[in-house]
Point group: C2
Chain length 396, copies 2
Amino acid sequence: MKPDFTRLLDPRTEAMATSAIREILKVANRPGMTSLAGGIPAPETFPMDILEHVFSIVLDRWGSSAFQYDLTEGFVPLREAAVPYLRRYSVETPAEGILVSSGSQGLLDAIGKILIGPGDAVAVESPTYLGALQAFNPYGPRYVEIETDEMGAIPESLEKLIKEDKPKFVYLVPTFQNPSGRTLTIERRQTIAEIITRHGVLLVEDDPYAALRYRGDTVPAIKSMAPAHVLYATTFSKVFAPGLRVGLAVPPPGELGTWLVKAKQGTDLHTSTLSQAMAAAYLEGGYLEERLPLICAHYAPRLDAMLEAMEESFPSDWSWSRPEGGMFLWAEGPEGTDIPDLYEKALARNVAFVPGRYFYADPDRGGRTMRLNFTNADLDVLRKAVGTLGELIRNG
Amino acid sequence: MKPDFTRLLDPRTEAMATSAIREILKVANRPGMTSLAGGIPAPETFPMDILEHVFSIVLDRWGSSAFQYDLTEGFVPLREAAVPYLRRYSVETPAEGILVSSGSQGLLDAIGKILIGPGDAVAVESPTYLGALQAFNPYGPRYVEIETDEMGAIPESLEKLIKEDKPKFVYLVPTFQNPSGRTLTIERRQTIAEIITRHGVLLVEDDPYAALRYRGDTVPAIKSMAPAHVLYATTFSKVFAPGLRVGLAVPPPGELGTWLVKAKQGTDLHTSTLSQAMAAAYLEGGYLEERLPLICAHYAPRLDAMLEAMEESFPSDWSWSRPEGGMFLWAEGPEGTDIPDLYEKALARNVAFVPGRYFYADPDRGGRTMRLNFTNADLDVLRKAVGTLGELIRNG
């Protein structure tokens, strides 16, 4: 008789069970499907033509060290090359202040591991990034939700939560947020920086998309306004290649970074040295700065096409975000909108999206919302898919 | 005033605080030091001359997919290429039965995350692999220690623990164990397979070193004797390159593997696709099988040199393991041996090793033991360092 070892599972796995989103992404990847569901970069934006060259730089410069065990903190040449790169995000730090993580996800897990105990309050936007919930969930947090509007998180809501719920930390994706595409205004950033400083609260600023700005002015990271209170995180997943799984973190000065390193050491020893060396050579060689405009030029017309198609085909009682960058936009229907019904009908017409409710810590929220991704389909296909959604919405 | 966010640390971090070993390894890496302390492969064993070719295969075969997000379970071509490779360890599995982890460490973390709750018993060898303790510690286990002798874990001790302590799982490194270098005999493997099957107990068989056999006959994995009760794990760290951070796991049939995947998804989404693709191309091209004898030919004389030098210079009241492979051997002094004193004196003579007590779940054990690594120094340097240790021991 085969043993059933699921009887050994720790109760914390109950918080890891939600795989609805995995099922949705599986369906979205079926052949013939136009997927507005995923969040993956277009492979056309990867610098395939120069990777062989980048690899040869790695071999020349670092030789066997690029294939050897390395520091948990991260590959030193990458941390050094990241110093000027992070200034793009208005983040000032010495190389020693930078930690490398196995994608942003690796950092979110380490944060959960060192900070979250069962029942601890964690403040997140409503809606928020699903991957953060998945990273934090096993550690048993109680989420408290910051209200948001088209300008991002509402500072008054945040301050109220801080006073009432005393969260262990606040988690925000302030720029081109996943899922909403919204960007926190500079005024709100300043207010939030002031609030967290005044209350002595730790903010995790997750910033994967800031470099993907297609128009409008750069908004500085909250980290630049409250460096001692912000743990800043970004990743090479959207600006180089996600398969490398390389993220960067700049913790506040003090011992928090040391604890993140200890947590990471137990979790994966260190991030792939080869991946880090590739990113280091790519940064050092100036390739990232050279390619970034091309990536933006690839995505900008896709965002425009999606916005135009929505303008044309979505009914006037729907509203949606109009981001200036990133990978997503967010649409909300009027009272009575039946997203599960729309989802099924769209699938039958070979169009996939993600129902918005999966991005809420509270599963009863977001019932009339959806997330649409525009980075991974051709212009005509995007227009047609949005047209199909509009048609299905209008025809009920 | 700068905030001190260490006040936010969850109590689980108390179990993550022990960094003595990190300090030892830092000291061991000082210039001029002969380090018998580390556990890192010799960079001369990395196939530097063909890596450019392997990388070009990756680009040709998989193109942008090798740089894109990928399945949490692992890169399919790697899992397929691993099927015949795992037969070398007498592990039979279809590709779907293989999970890729971010090094063995990533798997050990995932095991801890899904199985260990505060106070749960986990059975480990005495001594055991330190990295496993570091992976498990944050989840709050209570370790119960299996007695060992020169033939590895003692089955009677294991069965007694299973009856008395009902461990969540048993963790063993049966072949060329880190730290002891010992290999569990085939008879004991069969007995342990029988015990875990009879009691319905899960065994985690961590097997990073089996391919590094310099003499004697291959011993089959316990996985081959009790496939439904063993979660088998190995890694490319010792046979290709540790910096890739690629491990392989073969869980028992059933849902346990699905839970490991869920845990991993929250921890790092997936292992570096580039690292996995490099490993896949390396396996597929037959390079690993071609190079393995060269790696063994590099290490075998180092093991011999260390054993000979110990024979010559260590006093007769010391005992040590005589492994047929792997990276370590283990020495134990007589009653009254003062390892901390020897450690300090050796450092003063520029020789580093790891005091054995760090490899015990119970910190009061192992006070007369030491771990010696022989893979990362030249023959003459090894002989001289062992001679110095012997001299210091003899002269008290």
